[in-house]
């Protein structure tokens, strides 16, 4: 306890003693003997002396009222807190901000454990201590931001129960330090920075997740466009960002495109995975032993039974009659449409369950335990870090056409980048177990179960390696050939997006007879690449998306090449 506080207690206690003594004296002399007035008039029934009875009444009245003061005071001190309106109003107390501002939150330290590699730390500038985000926009979708008025997001919010200093009973003015606990996460800050630069280099909205194998730890996760975590201090700019995130989330830098959530926490955003999803169908086929099927890819396209619309290939390519390996290498839509129908709805459903995907729009799957956690789940962690559950429609309502489309990642297939990364990791891990990802080093090892058999996983890796060596991604990887090996799968996905004007309001194409607006749409082609490296002994698995980046081999695969180069240079691929 501080000395001024002791002095204050001495002051008030002694002052109270003085008051008691004076009060005792005043009480003893409360009625100076009534004036013995000889004047008959003064003592008459209506004279001044008779007024004394009412004066005494006044004394009692005032005494009662004065007593009410400390009683009410005590109410505010001891009982008010139990009232809801008081507790709610208390959140606006200017004191809370003073106290919160003077506490120090915990640091967030990357996988190296070195303090100077922190993702969130404090810095001292001429004796002024301020919270700093050394990676800035490169990691803001992980670190989030923090402000007393506008709240916090990302780790700052999701892990606040760890980072926030526990308020001591006496407050920071008592001299005891109020310092929050540090948090270690699996991110590699150097790789994170490189990954962000690679994505920025694409010049398009893009996202990527990198997973370290076999630990299944996320070592980098980036999203472009991004923003500076300190922008929250600029009220006007921050409110513009928040407004944009509400009106036109597709363009907002607040969206963590890798996770499919706003960094502030919110409902999810999905992508069509395109041909990268063929990896899933191929996994089902290989694991089920259906690898010898041959299907024909024609110019007029494949027409599924009971449907009239044909399924064609990207750029109307024709592959002829081919087997699984070639179809995967060349990414043949017609082959996978036919393979999917051959595998059948039920078998596909069984494998979606293994991965934790929803196969039925009606099953109401909202959240699932996506992450492996070291300790208990922090409050609001899900809201910030759980990706929206990826979903397909393999229900009985889905037609053959719907199923065929989803087998090459179109139609109802709604997935997230991180889910695709988890799918690749499940295949890239030698045991073929479903990869359960984590952000926390030292999270206990546990797997939700097998995805494919180890031998099937090996065969799938070989197929992915051939994509890089002689398939759709061969061009992108040509410059790296010889000094790196990898496996992967390209993807090219078509989406229709609402078009927005410069004011973030949707553009109206026309207004129909009933006055409903019809919005303008633009067709975008997302570029995907998922894969792992090195080929024979995978150390990382990753998933890339470049929005409207054209074919997978055009934007996403080159970005993946640069990632592997960076990871090699940083020594991430070395076995330790």
């Amino acid at each position: 306890m501080l000395l001024p506080k002791v002095l204050t207690i001495i002051f008030s206690v002694v002052a109270l003693l003085i008051v008691v003594v004076l009060g005792w004296a005043a009480w003893n002399h409360r009625s100076s003997t009534s004036p013995t007035v000889a004047d008959a008039e003064a003592t008459s029934p209506i004279g001044p002396v008779a007024a004394n009875r009412w004066l005494q009444g006044l004394r009692w009245l005032l005494a009662v009222v004065i007593t009410l003061v400390p009683i009410t005071h005590a109410y505010w001190v001891f009982l008010a807190e139990s009232s809801d309106s008081f507790a709610q109003a208390r959140t606006l107390d200017a004191r809370s901000r003073r106290l919160a501002d003077s506490r120090l939150k915990g640091w967030v330290i990357d996988r190296s454990g070195k303090l100077d590699h922190s993702l969130i730390r404090y810095r001292a500038d001429r004796g002024a201590i301020s919270r700093e985000y050394p990676l800035g926009p490169a990691a803001v979708h992980l670190t989030g931001y923090s402000d007393f008025v506008f709240g916090s997001g990302g780790i700052e919010y999701g892990y606040r129960s760890v980072l926030d200093a526990p308020p001591t009973s006496t407050g920071p003015l008592s001299g005891s330090a109020e310092v929050g606990k540090d948090l270690a996460i699996t991110i590699d800050s150097a790789l994170q920075r490189e990954l962000f630069e690679i994505l920025q280099g694409t010049g398009k909205p893009s996202a990527a997740v990198v997973i370290l194998l076999p630990e299944n730890e996320v070592i980098a996760m980036a999203s472009v466009p991004s923003f500076d975590p300190l922008v929250v201090r600029d009220e006007r700019e921050w409110q513009r960002l928040i407004r944009q995130a509400e009106l036109a989330p597709e363009r907002s830098p607040l969206v963590n495109r890798a996770l499919g959530r706003l960094v502030t926490g919110s409902p999810g955003f999905y992508y069509r995975p395109g041909s990268t999803f063929k990896l899933f169908v191929a996994s089902v086929a290989v694991d089920s032993g259906i690898t010898e099927e041959r299907f024909t890819c024609r110019g007029e396209g494949f027409v599924a039974p009971g449907v009239s619309r044909p399924i064609r290939d990207y750029a109307n390519e024709v592959h002829g009659t081919i087997g699984l390996e070639d179809a995967f290498r060349l990414s043949c839509n017609q082959y996978f449409a036919q393979l999917g129908l051959k595998l059948g709805r039920e078998r596909l459903r069984a494998y979606t369950r293994r991965l934790g995907l929803s196969a039925d729009p009606d099953d109401g799957l909202r959240t699932h335990d996506f992450w492996r956690l070291a300790q208990g789940k922090p409050v609001d962690f899900e809201n910030i870090f759980s990706p929206p559950p990826s979903r397909l429609n393999l229900s009985t309502k889905a037609t053959n056409y719907d199923i065929a489309l989803q087998c090459f990642g179109q139609g109802y297939a709604d997935l997230t980048v991180i889910q695709m990364a988890a799918l690749v990791a499940s295949v890239a891990n030698k045991d073929g177990m479903v990869a359960s990802l984590t952000l926390e080093p030292g999270a206990p090892k546990k797997t939700p179960g097998p995805f494919v058999s180890p031998s099937a996983a090996e065969k799938l890796r070989k197929m992915m390696q051939s994509v890089v060596e002689s398939g759709t991604a061969a061009g992108a990887f040509s410059r790296a050939r010889g000094h790196m090996t990898a496996g992967g799968k390209t993807g090219t996905a078509d989406r229709d997006l609402i078009a927005y004007g410069p004011d973030d309001k949707p553009l109206v194409a026309r207004i129909d007879a009933e006055g409903h607006p019809h919005y303008k749409h633009v067709a975008v082609t997302d570029s995907w690449f998922v894969g792992f490296a090195p080929a024979d002994n995978p150390r990382i698995a990753f998933a890339f998306i470049v929005e409207n980046g054209g074919a997978g081999a055009h934007s996403a695969a080159p970005a993946a090449v640069r990632l592997i180069e960076s990871a090699t240079a940083l020594g991430v691929l070395k076995k330790d």
Binding site: L3, K5, L16, P48, V65, H73, A89, R103, A128
Partner: protein, 564 residues
């Protein structure tokens, strides 16, 4: 029949208490300076010395009373007032030494930032390991005690300190006490005042009304001073004089009602101070006057039926008030009054944004903050309305949170956050004081008020004639009602009125007036004890006899006959 001398506390006892109080004040100042260093600013020590020196004139008056004036009355109210004064001065010093308090805009933000940074540095030096400290302040770097860029505290020159208002007001207060004592111990003066009470009332009203009409802005005059505080004394004397002259006639009631022809002139005298205060929108002061006048009337006239009538009227007024709060006009009652009532009953629930007494202030708030609100968007309007109301109710809420924050023993001088309560040096001084001294500090203040009440009533009981009896009772009522209305407003027992806490708030004229009123009370106490019990009536006879003159105005005088 000298009885009263045995009935008083010894001067030595009171002097001992005053010495103890001054010692406590020194302790408090040390605590404030100590805490300030801890929080990152340095209060002016010259001001501390000046403040403590200001007890000297009060102690001098104390000794002058006992030695030179051979004071025979009760000194306890003086001691209690010095205790309140010391507490108040300490709280003022605490607030004004804080660079954040009273500063505005950038200065305020900067002061707050430096205080925050000082605490952060303290946490770093106590809670961080060597590695982190090295990362922040370089290898082997020492954690500084304070951030760079101190808040400038310019020690003022001795001359500036001596001529500052804060020096002159307490000296003026001590002088006012002495002057009031000399005046009111004198029978001639009392007689003169009683005889000319009506003239005094009118003579006070004229310049007062001129001031009010000419210069007042929302109850404040020329920047936060209220030069009409002293008129309270004159109005009280005038009312007491009129009442002591006519109470016998007013007491001849039928159906509990006094004779009409005496009521009208009396009502005029009653209304004298109330109208200007109404014009000033100083409803706290109005409430105090109503309370004091009504109490004095009841003491003099003593009709239970009238007490019942009056209470019924209060109930009816409140009833009408609440019934009309939903209407579109206040029939002349300013919107501010309705706002204060709403703040009292629904502190943390914003009123309807369209209510007539709130709409304009809501729009003003939006304009001041440069906000635009889409009036058709209910949610947006509700959000902004709630913000505007929080802003309006901030003083009350911050005060209450401060009371809550103080707990039992308080945060400690300089260690709470009374700087977050707007105007906590005068209207909200109780909240500021108890945040740092807790419920115990609150008991000290209310206890001192109770002591003033007990001794004041005792002095009134001891007065032999109606005039001095009423003045003593009136002064006591002024102290108590003002204190209760002030504290009750802060504790949400009553609507907030913006009235000062006697002796504790240092509002310039308010402090001088309070000490002058204390001087009157002491004079009456002295008179009771020494004047070889005689009423003013006797004194008058005595005086007349001595001067061989025959007074036409005697006994209950006949002011009312001028009207009648």
């Amino acid at each position: 029949m000298r009885t009263a001398s045995a009935q008083r506390t010894k001067p030595s006892f009171n002097l001992l208490a005053v010495v103890a109080i001054v010692t406590l004040a020194v302790l408090g100042y040390v605590a404030v300076i100590w805490s300030a260093e801890f929080r990152g600013y340095s209060p002016s020590k010259a001001v501390a010395v000046r403040d403590l020196t200001l007890f000297a004139p009060l102690v001098a008056v104390f000794i002058w009373l006992v030695r030179r004036q051979r004071f025979r009355g009760e000194l306890v109210p003086f001691t209690a007032a010095i205790l309140l004064f010391a507490f108040g001065m300490l709280t003022q010093y605490r607030l004004f030494s804080d660079p954040e308090y009273g500063a505005r805009g950038v200065e305020r933000t900067r002061a707050r930032e430096i205080k925050t940074q000082t605490l952060r540095l303290r946490s770093v030096s106590a809670g961080y390991d060597v590695e982190k400290k090295a990362l922040l302040f370089g290898q082997g770097g020492e954690v500084p005690e304070k951030p760079a860029g101190q808040i400038q505290t310019t020690e003022r020159t001795a001359g500036a300190l001596l001529t500052s208002v804060n020096t002159l007001v307490p000296i003026g207060a001590a002088l006012a006490l002495a002057a009031a004592f000399i005046l009111f111990r004198n029978d001639r003066v009392l007689l003169f005042l009683q005889k000319h009470s009506l003239a005094i009332g009118l003579a006070t009203l004229v310049p007062f009304a001129a001031l009010v009409i000419g210069f007042a802005d929302e109850g404040k005059f020329l920047g936060q001073t209220t030069p009409w505080e002293p008129v309270k004394v004159l109005f009280l004397v005038s009312f007491a004089g009129a009442l002591s002259a006519s109470y016998r006639r007013l007491g001849r009631t039928r159906w509990g009602l006094p004779p009409f022809r005496y009521v009208v002139p009396f009502a005029v005298i009653t209304a004298l101070p109330i109208l200007p205060f109404f014009a000033l929108s100083d409803f706290g002061q109005m409430l105090v006057f109503f309370g004091v006048y009504f109490t004095l009337y009841m003491i003099a006239v003593r009709k239970k039926a009238q007490l019942v009538y009056a209470l019924a009227m209060v109930v009816i007024v409140f009833g009408i008030f609440f019934a009309t709060s939903g209407l579109r006009t206040g029939f002349g009652v300013p919107g501010r009054v309705y706002q204060r009532f709403h703040m009292w009953t629904h502190t943390w629930e914003p009123p309807d944004p369209a209510a007539w007494w709130w709409k304009r202030d809501f729009e003003r708030y939006l304009k001041a903050k440069n906000l635009t609100v889409d009036m058709t968007d209910q949610q947006d309007v509700a959000q902004r309305n709630s913000e505007a109301w929080s802003d309006r109710a901030m003083q009350l809420s911050q005060g209450i949170f401060g009371v809550n924050n103080g707990r039992t023993t308080g945060a400690g001088f300089g260690l709470g956050f009374p700087e977050t309560i707007p105007v906590s040096d005068s209207d909200f001084v109780y909240a500021a004081a108890v945040e740092e001294t807790g419920l115990i500090g609150g008991l000290v203040i209310t206890g001192a008020i109770a002591i003033l009440m007990l001794t004041g009533v005792a002095i009134s009981l001891g007065s032999a004639d109606m005039f001095t009896k009423l003045i003593a009772a009136g002064l006591t009522c002024f102290f108590c009602l003002q204190a209760i209305i002030n504290i009750a407003g802060e504790l949400r027992m009553l609507p907030m009125t913006g009235i000062t806490l006697p002796f504790v708030s240092h509002g310039g004229w308010s402090l001088i007036t309070s000490f002058a009123m204390l001087g009157m009370l002491l004079a009456l106490s002295h008179r009771n004890a020494t004047a070889a019990p005689r009423s003013l009536h006797e004194a008058e006879m005595h005086q007349n006899h001595a001067s061989e003159a025959v007074s036409v105005l005697h006994k209950d005088s006949t002011i009312m006959s001028h009207f009648g």
